[in-house]
């Protein structure tokens, strides 16, 4: 009798545990540290004593979690733009930054967007940083007439989803994907390419664009997918190695890309390994280890400040504020914030409405640091430059503009 009871109890516990583990799973993803804080940037406090009211620029992106680096790069860029504007003091109000941390997860996108929407002081949002949360939040921003300028959400369909107030200051993944494919087919002269995506909005959008253009270029393509959080990349890495592909493109973010790089190294793959903007971060190198990361190339519609003297003033101001080098999308975050600021300046009123800001952003023509900010009717940026980077001795270095690289070879 006793044993039977025990067996039954065991089965019940096991069943309960599965239910619980499922809950634990979702809570790890959505619960852990997704709290949002309203932080005025360092400068807004110093400028706050001049009797002017305070309005806010929202930032939505992963400020914690596995892919926080990209979000923080943007956040500091926005904070710098706000700090500089407050120092100038030529607006009829002070500006502050309000942060909403979606951890880059689609599930958190709507909640974090609501947090910004409900705060009536928020006049414009820089973000959402990732494509998944943008898909979840775009309609909300649209309904609230709150303008959202993403410095980095590149999934093509976002600007075709009818989000009235969504804009982005980087070329979308159709353009990045096409450029990446042309680069592999024409500059690297790869006759067969293996494309891996991470099953995210971003990864799938990018890989679809790459595969389409590769086929148009007459390249043999093999594809596979590995969800973010995959435990063992070694089988996939072996598959890539035994396919004999001349080039491999990983469409996903760095937290997993780095692990995949490790596995590819161990599998002895010797083709050209490439990835996109989502993996172009020093943390890719940290995760993979210097050895495995060496030689990887990245396509990105973003422009690194790097050592270009044109950006020296930006770099030193950024470093002073963030206590770190500007990274991927720092300039774009800065430009997106300044676009909103320029619009607020144009309206020149202490009580701008969200509707007025959104309308003005659609017609804006602002010379940003990285590019001229001017949007198409769907909200995409009108410039289409895509750059290629490569890891050389552990540092992500700019190789050049794809058009020049493809044309020059």
């Amino acid at each position: 009798m006793r044993t039977i009871n025990r067996v039954r109890a065991g089965a019940v516990i096991a069943a309960g545990v599965f239910a619980l583990s499922a809950c634990a799973g979702s809570s790890t993803k959505s619960g852990g540290g997704s709290t949002s804080s309203s932080t005025g940037s360092g400068s807004s406090t110093s400028a706050a004593n001049n009797g002017k009211p305070t309005l806010e620029i929202g930032v939505q992106g992963p400020l914690s979690g596995a892919n926080q680096a990209l979000g923080l790069n943007i956040d500091w860029g926005v904070k710098l733009a706000v700090q500089q504007e407050n120092a100038k003091g030529d607006l009829p109000f002070n500006l502050a930054v309000k942060e909403a941390d979606d951890q880059g997860l689609q599930n958190n996108g709507a909640d974090e967007a609501n947090l910004l929407i409900q705060d009536q002081k928020v006049m414009g949002v820089v973000g959402p940083a990732f494509s998944g949360p943008t898909a979840a939040a775009g309609a909300l921003y649209s309904t609230a007439n709150l303008v959202a300028i993403s410095p980095s959400a590149t999934a093509p369909k976002l600007t075709a989803s009818g989000f009235k107030t969504f804009y982005r200051v980087v070329a979308n993944d159709n353009i990045q994907g096409k450029a990446a494919a042309d680069y592999m087919a024409k500059a690297l002269k790869a006759s067969n390419v293996f494309v891996v995506d991470d099953k995210s909005q971003y990864g799938q959008g990018l890989s679809t664009a790459i595969v389409a253009e590769l086929k148009a270029d007459g390249v043999t393509v093999e594809t596979d997918s590995a969800q973010a959080g995959t435990q063992d990349y070694s089988q996939l890495a072996s598959k890539v190695a035994s396919s004999g592909a001349k080039a491999m493109y990983y469409a996903g973010y760095y937290a997993d890309g780095g692990v995949f790089a490790k596995a590819l190294k161990s599998a002895g793959y010797n083709g050209t390994m490439m990835s996109g903007d989502g993996s172009k971060d020093p943390n890719f190198i940290t995760t993979a280890g210097k050895d495995a990361a060496e030689g990887w190339q990245f396509t990105c519609a973003c422009l690194d400040a790097g050592t270009n003297p044109k950006y020296a003033a930006f770099v030193s101001a950024y470093k002073q504020l963030a206590n770190a080098e500007p990274g991927t999308y720092s300039i774009e975050g800065y430009d997106a914030a300044n676009t909103i600021i320029s619009v607020l300046k144009g309206l020149n009123t202490a009580t701008p409405t969200r509707q007025a800001v959104a309308d003005a952003v659609g017609k804006v023509d602002y010379q940003g640091l990285s590019k001229e900010v001017k949007f198409t009717s769907t909200g995409d940026i009108s410039t289409t430059a895509v750059y290629v980077y490569q890891i050389k001795s552990g540092v992500i270095t700019l190789l050049g503009d794809v058009n020049t690289l493809v044309g020059g070879s």
Binding site: V7, G25, S27, Q227, D232, K239, S242, S243, G289, D291
Partner: protein, 318 residues
């Protein structure tokens, strides 16, 4: 066909992953044996071991990317494994002291343990994230992982090989499992653990110090998980949330083999690893199907044998 061409490679990769699952699964199963508690914080014990090993490697080898060779390679690897084991054992021991012992003293219902376990897990990984950052940490390489022997079957990229790292993972895991099996079946501590698992009250009447046995069970589970964590770090990544998925997989392995049964956990771990690896080789784009296949296997096994492959024979040797 891909699977037949790469059979040996897939098998090896499966055993490698499976032996790691087994190392973690033992911690779940042993604690279940003595406390009838699913210790969900065990995945954080695993994570802390990986962190311990990585900090030891960073202190020894630095982060400049130089790979040590010869004796220092061996020394660094061994020290990292020991550091991981010690840190994990310490975390597991304190976990039992702080989170479970007070409950046991007050004869709390089993559900309370479960909630405590989940709470402890959330606390520990957030603490680690706060202390060590939310990004992946760099794992310095402690040795050069070159080919050790060539596997039968070859593809266009040349012969497939088994690397030093693969051998290290599999060998360490198997040695530890064999030693553990001996400890459980041949030593006084082992018979104490078995006695408590069979019937804690009677064991106490027979003079077994139940509190001490439970403590030591946690320590043993921690030692194995810590070594598993360091080995896992060497081929995957280290971050504050790294424990979650391997923890769930290892728990699955423990249920598959028969929860409470130590040999069952070993078998379940290996089986799960091999099933995951093979399903990737057999199904096109198999990575997306890995979890589906492994849970189908679990459900089928539980339908046929509700207590797992080797049965829930907590007290017996196997």
């Amino acid at each position: 066909m891909y699977f037949t061409q790469h059979f040996w490679e897939l098998l090896f990769q499966g055993i490698r992953l499976g032996s790691l699952y087994a190392l973690i699964a033992i911690g779940y199963t042993m604690v279940y044996g003595v406390l009838q508690l699913i210790n969900f914080a065990h995945s954080e014990v695993f994570m802390s071991g990986a962190l311990g090993g990585v900090f030891m490697l960073t202190a020894l080898a630095g982060t400049n990317g130089n790979i040590p060779s010869g004796f220092s390679a061996f020394e660094y690897t061994a020290l990292a494994l020991i550091a991981g084991a010690v840190v994990s054992a310490a975390v597991a021991f304190s976990l039992e002291r702080v989170a479970y012992r007070p409950l046991r003293k007050r004869h709390a219902p089993k559900l309370v343990y479960l909630i405590t376990a989940i709470g402890a897990s959330i606390f520990l990984y957030n603490l680690a994230g706060k202390l060590f950052g939310r990004n992946n940490l760099q794992v310095p390489e402690s040795f050069h992982s070159g080919p050790v022997f060539v596997l039968p079957g070859s593809g266009p990229s040349g012969p497939r090989t088994v690397k030093t790292l693969d051998v290290l993972i599999i060998a360490t895991a198997f040695v530890m499992m064999i030693v553990l099996d001996l400890v459980i079946n041949r030593t006084k501590l082992g018979s104490g653990i078995r006695a408590v698992a069979q019937d804690a009250e009677t064991a106490q009447l027979m003079g077994v110090d139940v509190g001490k046995v439970i403590s030591r069970t946690f320590i043993i589970g921690g030692l194995l998980a810590g070594v598993g964590g360091v080995l896992y770090a060497m081929f995957h990544a280290v971050s504050y949330t790294m424990g979650f998925i391997p923890g769930i997989k290892a728990f699955t392995a423990a249920v598959l083999g028969g929860i409470g049964n130590v040999r069952g956990a070993m078998l379940g771990g290996l089986l799960l690893g091999i099933v995951e690896s093979f399903s990737q080789g057999i199904i096109p784009n198999g990575l997306e199907w890995v979890d589906v296949v492994s849970f189908v296997v679990l459900v089928v096994v539980l339908l046929i044998r509700p207590t797992g492959i080797l049965g829930e024979r907590t007290g017996r040797a196997a």
